[in-house]
């Protein structure tokens, strides 16, 4: 640890945040082509085991609560956005629905990859509902107006811009990359080509009341990926703009995540090409300003970089949290100095943040959700700075009124920046619904591990929980190939309605099996035969084993397969 005044900031090269395990990373070495990179050798294997060990720990109640809140929000009827509306107008700012939907998906991806790898059924339907919402016009119709330019960044260019209906046609990487990366994450995580089908990602708008003919723009995960890739090429790899003329570092990172997922699914090396070229392109400008903080954006017309002079926390935090996935050494090297400018010590280990007053622009007060606290917390989680993360979450739990609704945990919107004691209480929906949960669910270098440590093909052949009832919580789910057993923990909730089902796929082909919960055998089977000895009703449904959990069921279970007696694999 490095001590700085009253703040203690974790040194990212030395970790001791997990049960006394101390390990050193990142490992920096030279690629064979002479560039800087991370070698996939013994160091990688060592880190793989470190990341996968989280799957042997059970999720706690708070983590389960965040997942359930994401699930609850995803289940809202179309165009019901309860708890999700921020201060800003028209889905233009960082609190927009698109960001909430996308980072819920990212948090779920991280949780599935690192903590519940054998429970795709917990995440897949939520992912599908989040993507379905991403495609709703309410989420992307802001682009018809924003595409016309006229903001302070591009007012002088407004005459050259025209109204655009296609939300991914040009610029707007702040939306297109999230659709692309969400669809490709889904394809990778669930080994499912649902969004690779023609027109699987269609942006459609028609109103009875105005606008003339229907507008319809059809893509799939690969055509959208290609489209964004070629926009990246055309930009000289500096990146694709968000608002016209404005290339944000932050908003091009999700596209890179999408490229990587595309490569994992289809083969190829788009992500490697883009990241290498992106680094080269930004070398002329630098990515860090004189004050040590990330540049915010670049103007395409003047190639002028806008520095983070005001030390806005969200800029460093959002950039750092994402950039870490492919540029870990760089991000970790700058983190200690950057975070020191933001943290504000509180009582009993709680940590808040310093947020400089935002200047007026054109005589106007800017009304947006910057989500500084949420982004700082998410960034700290990615950095593996466990003590700072604890401090920030302690502050949130103490001063940001955590609430439970339908089994879900969130921090309700609160527009009051500080309470009477000067303690930060501001909560934007993006922070309270998503980012604090993201931070609690993430693991150290979680995005890095997701990006750099793909599952082996065998993962998709292993037994897994592929569906659960809406009243079922899964707090652990990992297949242990060495011992040929599926470990999982199930709780059937009383406060949520559902059928209590846990469906396990890819199990029968492994031969005779037994199911034990908290040490007591509940069932045993082979082929289509099942012998039940406990309270759980177990049936074979097609190729799946289906558990019907009784009310109040809460157990740690092991489904063990007998080696050498596989009967049909």
């Amino acid at each position: 640890m490095v001590t700085s005044g009253m703040l203690r900031v974790a040194l990212p090269l030395l970790r001791s945040d997990l049960e006394g395990i101390v390990y050193l990373y990142p490992v920096k070495c030279l690629r064979q082509d002479g560039g800087d990179g991370v070698r996939f050798g013994n160091a990688r294997s060592r880190e793989m085991s470190m990341s996968s060990r989280y799957a042997f720990e059970s999720l706690d109640k708070l983590q389960i609560g965040h997942i359930r809140h994401f699930d609850n929000l995803s289940r809202q009827p179309p165009n019901q956005w309860k708890l999700m509306k921020g201060k800003g107008y028209g889905q233009e700012d960082f609190g927009g629905f698109r960001f909430q939907l996308a980072y819920m998906a990212y948090a779920l991806a991280l949780t599935h990859r690192h903590r519940l790898p054998a429970a795709p059924g917990v995440f897949k339907p939520v992912f599908e509902r989040l993507i379905e919402k991403m495609l709703l016009p309410e989420v992307w119709m802001y682009w018809r107006d924003v595409s016309r330019g006229g903001s302070i960044f591009n007012a002088h260019l407004a005459a050259n811009y025209r109204e655009e209906w296609n939300p991914v046609g040009r610029d707007n990487i702040m939306y297109s990359a999230y659709v692309q990366s969400m669809a490709l994450l889904y394809g990778y995580l669930f080994n499912d080509a649902r969004y690779a089908q023609p027109a699987a990602l269609t942006f459609r708008f028609w109103s009875y009341f105005w606008g003339g003919e229907a507008k319809c723009f059809e893509y799939d995960q690969n055509s959208l990926n290609d489209h964004i890739y070629w926009q990246m090429v055309e930009s000289g790899y500096l990146g694709v703009a968000c608002e016209p003329n404005c290339v944000f570092q932050i908003c091009n990172q999700p596209a890179i995540l999408g490229f990587r997922m595309h490569d994992l699914i289809n083969g190829g090396s788009i992500a490697e090409e883009v990241t290498r070229s992106y680094e080269q392109a930004w070398k002329d400008f630098g990515r860090i300003g004189d004050n040590g903080h990330y540049h915010i954006m670049m103007a395409q017309d003047t190639k002028a970089v806008r520095q983070n002079i005001g030390k806005a926390p969200w800029v460093d935090a959002w950039t750092g949290a994402l950039l870490n996935m492919w540029n870990r050494d760089f991000v970790h090297a700058h983190y200690p100095r950057q975070i020191r400018d933001f943290l504000k010590p509180g009582v009993d280990g709680a940590l808040s943040i310093n947020v400089p007053a935002r200047p007026e622009v054109m005589g106007q007060r800017i009304v947006t959700d910057d989500c500084d606290f949420g982004w700082i917390t998410a960034w700290v989680s990615e950095m593996g700075d466990a003590e700072t993360l604890r401090g920030l979450l302690a502050h949130a739990d103490r001063y940001m009124a955590p609430a439970w609704l339908d089994g879900g945990l969130y921090y309700p919107r609160n527009d009051l920046v500080e309470n009477a004691e000067g303690v930060r209480t501001l909560v934007e929906p993006m922070s309270g619904n998503v980012l604090l949960g993201y931070a609690r669910l993430n693991i150290p270098d979680g995005l890095w591990h997701l990006y750099n440590e793909p599952w082996e093909p065998a993962h998709f052949e292993e037994p897994a929980i592929v569906a659960v009832g809406s009243d079922v919580d899964i707090s652990r789910a990992i297949f242990d190939p060495e011992n040929n057993r599926l470990n999982f923990a199930v709780e059937r909730r009383r406060d949520v309605s559902g059928d209590g089902i846990v469906r396990i796929a890819r199990a029968l082909a492994r031969g005779p099996w037994s199911l034990a919960c908290d040490g007591a055998e509940f069932a045993r089977g082979s082929g289509t035969n099942v012998q039940i000895a406990g309270a759980v009703q177990v049936e074979i449904d097609g190729a799946d084993v289906v558990l019907h959990c009784p009310e109040r069921f809460a157990h740690s279970c092991v489904m063990a397969f007998e080696p050498g007696e596989q009967d049909s694999k």
Binding site: A214, W230, I265, N266, S277
Partner: protein
């Protein structure tokens, strides 16, 4: 309905009219029946173009007779300086390549069709001069004039040759991005 948005690889490339380094007018139609290997650059380029043209020449050399089915062309992004004569002289070191130039409008049109980035900047190493950082991708167009593949700058001559071979040899599927699982 309006606005069919799609970005299949087929949207890369398209018609063009330019002049080759011998002063003959050419178009995309000129190369029908051949695979066309296209690289964009400028003859004052000190690093990227010489490196790429050398690498592509090595790749083509290694293909043997298969290379006869390929027409390698080098399109300038600097038509103000790269006249036909300048390009002819420059490409003596890369004899497999035909240089193409044209008016500024023609060049901008073909750059746009291939989504090429090229932007003029002052040359800090030579006062009053300029350089043009540009896309270093190599494009392959099939004999019907359709985009077939592209090769990034990081690929070696051997890798490019291997991909060209798999794309050109009969009975082999064009599988630049083969599924891994």
């Amino acid at each position: 309905m309006s606005g069919a948005g799609s970005s299949s690889p087929a949207s890369i490339g398209g018609p063009f009219r330019l002049m080759d380094h011998d002063g003959h007018e050419v178009s995309d139609q000129t190369y029908r029946g051949y695979h066309v290997l296209i690289f964009f650059g400028f003859t004052n380029c000190r690093l990227v173009c010489p490196r790429a043209l050398t690498k592509l020449s090595v790749a083509l050399d290694s293909l043997g007779p298969l290379a006869d089915r390929i027409r390698p062309i080098y399109i300038t992004v600097d038509p103000e300086r790269d006249t036909a004569a300048v390009m002819r002289a420059f490409l003596r070191s890369y004899p497999r390549f035909t240089g193409l130039t044209g008016s500024r409008e023609q060049i901008d049109q073909v750059k746009g069709a291939f989504r090429v980035f090229a932007e003029r900047r002052d040359d800090h190493a030579s006062k009053g001069d300029y350089v043009i950082p540009h896309t270093a991708i190599t494009y392959l167009i099939d004999p019907q004039g359709k985009f077939a593949a592209h090769f990034g700058d990081a690929l070696s001559a051997e890798e490019i040759a291997g991909r060209l071979r798999s794309l050109l040899e009969p009975d082999k599927a064009p599988c630049e991005r083969a599924p891994t699982r």
